[in-house]
């Protein structure tokens, strides 16, 4: 088992190295220059732009820029200078990225938690009650939410639950933007919880609704497949109770496929939710990432891509290990 884990980790490192080379090459060849925006200002001279290029090391050949970057990037302990400076200003990338992790984790784990806790039981229940009114109704709801663009969903929730609800009731239930109120640090513990929820509910719900739809459909299909298997029919024939059949025999096996899905989603958590974070002005990685892409700020793009890549490698490994725990037939040689 240990040998297997070590081998997977070595493969993972090779994958990350390849990922960094491919991403860097693509970013270097997108045709943009991080300092392009300066050119539209006639008061900034070519000399000033040249000095700026030297400051950021952009005057160096691409290969040297990559080797310098990768050499520094792996020295994560040299906080906050290890990952270089953002091209948007003199800020250190490591500081910028790590500062956004908290916001992203709060939003994404809440949304993911809601999706797992609602979506999976929902899928199981749909399978148990196959073709019932509940199954039909929730299936329709899943299709509607799954096919609604998150931008529409987010803005719609803002308008209905933040703007209109306040107009109708005169009470502010939810905020349209931000992670906390500006007076958060002055609030009592109870008020902080309330304030956090008032900001968190809409963005988390936007993401969760779509994920719930996906998870429930996936879980329903997986559960139905297991429920129609021979060994379950045997279990029923042996006279086991319906609950025992479902919980002890069907559920455990039906959960195996969804582990892959959840583990990949957990890996993607670090990337944040680009659209949702922008709509709700949520200070997360997704917003940082998309802004960096638009501004050719490749040190930030590289850092986020590498973090996501790292999480994908780790979560895939954990998922494979979990298969072994759930399915005794799986062995690691």
């Amino acid at each position: 088992m240990l040998q297997y884990v070590i081998r997977r980790l070595v493969y993972g490192m090779i994958t990350l190295l390849a990922l960094s080379i491919i991403t860097f090459t693509l970013l270097q060849n997108t045709g943009g220059d991080p300092l392009d925006r300066l050119k539209s200002n006639p008061r900034i001279t070519q000399q000033a732009i040249q000095e700026m290029a030297e400051f950021y090391g952009l005057d160096q050949p691409g290969t040297k820029q990559y080797l310098t970057w990768v050499g520094n990037f792996v020295q994560v302990w040299n906080y906050p200078t290890a990952w270089g400076r953002s091209f948007q200003g003199p800020q250190q990338v490591q500081e910028l990225v790590l500062n956004r992790l908290g916001g992203t984790a709060r939003l994404m784990f809440t949304a993911l938690g809601l999706a797992v806790m609602i979506g999976i039981p929902l899928g199981i229940y749909q399978a148990i009650k196959q073709y019932s009114f509940f199954d039909q109704a929730t299936t329709t709801f899943s299709f509607v939410t799954f096919s609604t663009p998150i931008f529409v969903l987010g803005i719609g929730l803002q308008i209905i639950l933040a703007l209109k609800l306040e107009q109708w009731t005169g009470v502010k239930f939810f905020y349209t933007s931000g992670m906390n109120s500006t007076s958060y640090s002055d609030l009592s513990f109870g008020a902080r919880i309330g304030d956090t929820l008032q900001h968190l509910v809409l963005p988390a719900t936007s993401i969760a609704l779509i994920s719930i739809a996906g998870y429930s459909r996936y879980q329903r299909a997986s559960m139905l497949e297991v429920m129609h298997s021979d060994y379950l029919r045997t279990a029923k024939a042996k006279g086991l109770s319906r609950r025992s059949v479902i919980v002890k025999h069907a559920l455990r096996n039906a959960l195996i496929p969804i582990i892959t899905l959840v583990s990949l989603d957990v890996a993607g958590v670090l990337g944040g939710a680009v659209i949702t974070e922008s709509i709700f002005a949520w200070p997360g990685m997704g917003r940082l990432y998309i802004q960096a892409i638009f501004l050719n700020d490749w040190p930030i793009v590289m850092a986020v891509v590498m973090l996501i890549g790292f999480m994908v490698v780790v979560m895939n490994l954990l998922a494979d290990l979990a298969y072994g725990w759930l399915d005794p037939r799986v062995r690691y040689d």
Binding site: P42, R100, G102, G103, L163, S185, I193, L200, P283
Partner: protein, 619 residues
């Protein structure tokens, strides 16, 4: 049993949901937070309660009997977040840095939101030849003297002095710092004289550009000895403006609090400024969310992107107490011709070097239709680039080219009748290039199809992603007919500097004459794409323009300067080097039933130019 199981499941599900939400809520507020390093002196108004994010939650009410009320908070929303607070650091030229900085910076000049002219801020008056603040010396050098306001002090009570000017100068000139030193590098260091309330220096040659320098002063007593680039990104030095930096919650907001030692008083009531206890800048990148925040009155002031739909949406709120002002902004769009070799890479049959062709294009363009289609007629088309800088100085030199397809057809016929053209073998054609990821420009390209067809000119659109267009295309002049925007700056300095982009002696990569109008051949440049032959247009006009450009850069006499600029404007119009189209809209919206004193300022100063005069009307 079945029902019991269902009830238990639901109970557990509910408990789990509650647990997740509470865990999420109780987590530490772990985004980056930076707080001000300077403690605020006791304010004349006292904050008795924490401000809230809802705008209508003033903390204190202390009004003069007949004056404006003190206290409360204003929330300004922006779609951008500053990359740094230090305007001298890389990224410090970003517009939002100034918007926030207007709260705590001070300097020689500001831009008046009503007149869009430069006004003095920390000095008694802006130096001119007439008031003795500028003198031209016998050796051809220019001496400038500032007299600092007696009452001007930093927030900690330290007087603002000539030493702060000198320290600012020395910091900018530090060769180890990546700071733009234009104009400052022309100051003779030996001539710098700093007094308690005066500062004097001599420039090696007269230049009107000096009117914009020392716009931001650095407090020597607070900054000296620090790491200038790394120490002042997330926090700010002691304030010289109406507010002090208090807190930056990265990704969310910046909070400024009242500077009780601010020296300015309200001209109307004589009250000490500012009126507000605090100002919050919230960062909401998505336009729809920005508008929804404003509609929900979670923010008081917004500068939304200049989309017509957004403006019309906001204008529906005017009946509920909002005020929406739409003005011509400083960003002006223009059509232009490439005169360098690489125009032929884009269009092998380019006729850009022929004046008749350029005049024909000028008569082909229906600017009124363009403004009606793209801006719904909210502003007038531009008749000169000078409109974007000092409208009162504009000759409107492009008014000579009215929209007239018949004239355009006649000019094309004249062109084809020339001995040096062969329109049968090489039909008159235009290939238009601009950025494809800008809706207004895409609309423009669509409008051009019909306009050029009416003038009998073969036309083709070749739009590109902005990264390519503003990269290789612009650098190497790989276009035939192009379109993009420049940014205007009020005052003579901006107007003079814009002429650099037409300087026949300024071919890229060293210069900014991307049009290559009148430029000499470029050799030995790196990368090779810059290397091209001489411009297809080098004549008496380009030679005269080069002289004018040099003259305007060495003249400080306003009358003389006006005359030179007029002649330059006329040459550019007569020669149709560019065709100014329109200035982008610049909307500003405020809940006027909550916040008073706000005046939208479309210039670089931004809407916070008079933030010290904002007050809560709902107190």
């Amino acid at each position: 049993m079945k029902h019991l199981w269902q009830r238990r499941s639901l109970t557990w599900l509910g408990l789990l949901l509650a647990f997740v939400l509470v865990v999420a809520a109780c987590g530490d507020d772990d985004t980056a937070e930076t707080t001000g390093t300077t403690s605020a002196p006791a304010a004349t108004t006292t904050t008795t309660a924490a401000p809230t994010t809802t705008a209508a939650a003033p903390t204190t009410t202390e009004a003069a009997p007949t004056g404006k009320p003190y206290g409360g908070e204003a929330i300004v929303a922006s779609d951008q977040e500053p990359p740094t607070l230090n305007t001298f650091a890389p990224g410090g030229d970003n517009f939002i840095v100034s918007i926030v900085g207007n709260g705590y910076w001070t300097g020689v000049q500001d831009i008046d939101g009503f007149t869009l002219e430069l006004i003095p801020e920390v000095v008694t008056e802006l130096p001119t030849v007439a008031n003795g603040g500028i003198s031209i010396n016998a050796d051809g050098t220019e001496t400038i003297r500032y007299t600092i306001l007696d009452e001007a002090v930093w927030a900690d009570g330290t007087p603002i002095s000539g030493d702060d000017f000198e320290f600012t100068y020395n910091t900018i000139m530090d060769p180890d710092l990546p700071i733009t030193r234009t104009v400052y590098e022309d100051i003779d260091p030996a001539t710098v004289v700093a007094g308690p309330k005066t500062f004097e220096f001599t420039l090696t040659a007269p230049t009107v550009q000096a009117e914009l320098i020392f716009g931001f002063l650095i407090p020597k007593h607070d900054v000296e000895g620090s790491d200038f680039i790394n120490d002042w990104n997330d926090t700010m030095w002691v304030s010289g403006g109406p507010f002090e930096f208090d807190q930056w919650q990265k990704g969310e907001f910046i909070r400024l609090t009242r500077n009780a030692n601010y020296w300015k008083t309200d001209a109307e009531t004589g009250q000490q400024l500012p009126f507000l206890d605090s100002v919050i800048f919230r960062f909401i990148p998505e336009t729809a969310a920005l508008i929804n925040s404003f509609k929900a009155r979670e923010v008081d002031v917004i500068n939304p992107p200049p989309s017509i739909e957004t403006i019309e949406d906001l204008q529906t709120l005017e009946s509920e107490g909002a005020s929406v002002e739409v003005l011509s902004g400083p960003i002006w769009e223009h059509l232009n011709f490439q005169f360098g070799d690489n125009r032929l890479v884009r269009n092998a049959g380019s006729y850009n070097e022929f004046l008749e062709y350029r005049q024909a294009v000028a008569h082909t363009i229906d600017k009124t239709k363009i403004v009606d289609e793209i801006l719904k007629g909210q502003v007038e088309p531009m008749s000169s680039y000078v409109d974007a800088f000092s409208p009162t100085l504009s000759l409107g030199a492009w008014d000579q080219y009215d929209y007239n397809p018949d004239t355009a057809i006649a000019l094309v016929a004249d062109l084809c009748a020339r001995d040096d053209t062969d329109c049968d073998a090489n039909p008159v054609s235009t290939i238009f290039s601009t950025t494809s990821n800008n809706d207004a420009r895409v609309t423009l390209s669509q409008l051009f199809v019909e306009m050029f067809a009416d003038a009998g000119i073969v036309y083709e659109n070749q739009l590109e992603d902005s990264s390519l267009f503003f990269g290789e295309t612009l650098d190497f002049g790989n276009w035939d007919l192009g379109e993009w925007a420049w940014v205007g700056t009020p005052g003579f300095a901006g107007l003079v500097s814009i002429h650099d982009i037409f300087d026949p002696e300024g071919a890229p990569p060293d210069g900014q004459n991307f049009y290559r109008w009148g430029t000499a051949a470029v050799e030995g440049a790196d990368p090779e794409g810059f290397n091209q032959g001489a411009s297809s247009v080098i004549d008496d006009n380009t030679a005269r323009f080069a002289v004018l450009r040099d003259d305007m850069n060495s003249t400080v006499d306003v009358d003389e300067l006006t005359e030179i600029i007029h002649e330059a404007e006329q040459i550019l119009a007569d020669q149709v080097v560019i065709i100014p189209l329109y200035a982008r809209l610049d909307p500003g919206a405020v809940w006027a039933d909550e916040l008073g004193g706000y005046k939208h300022n479309p210039s670089q100063a931004g809407d916070t130019w008079n933030i010290e005069q904002w007050y809560r009307v709902d107190l």
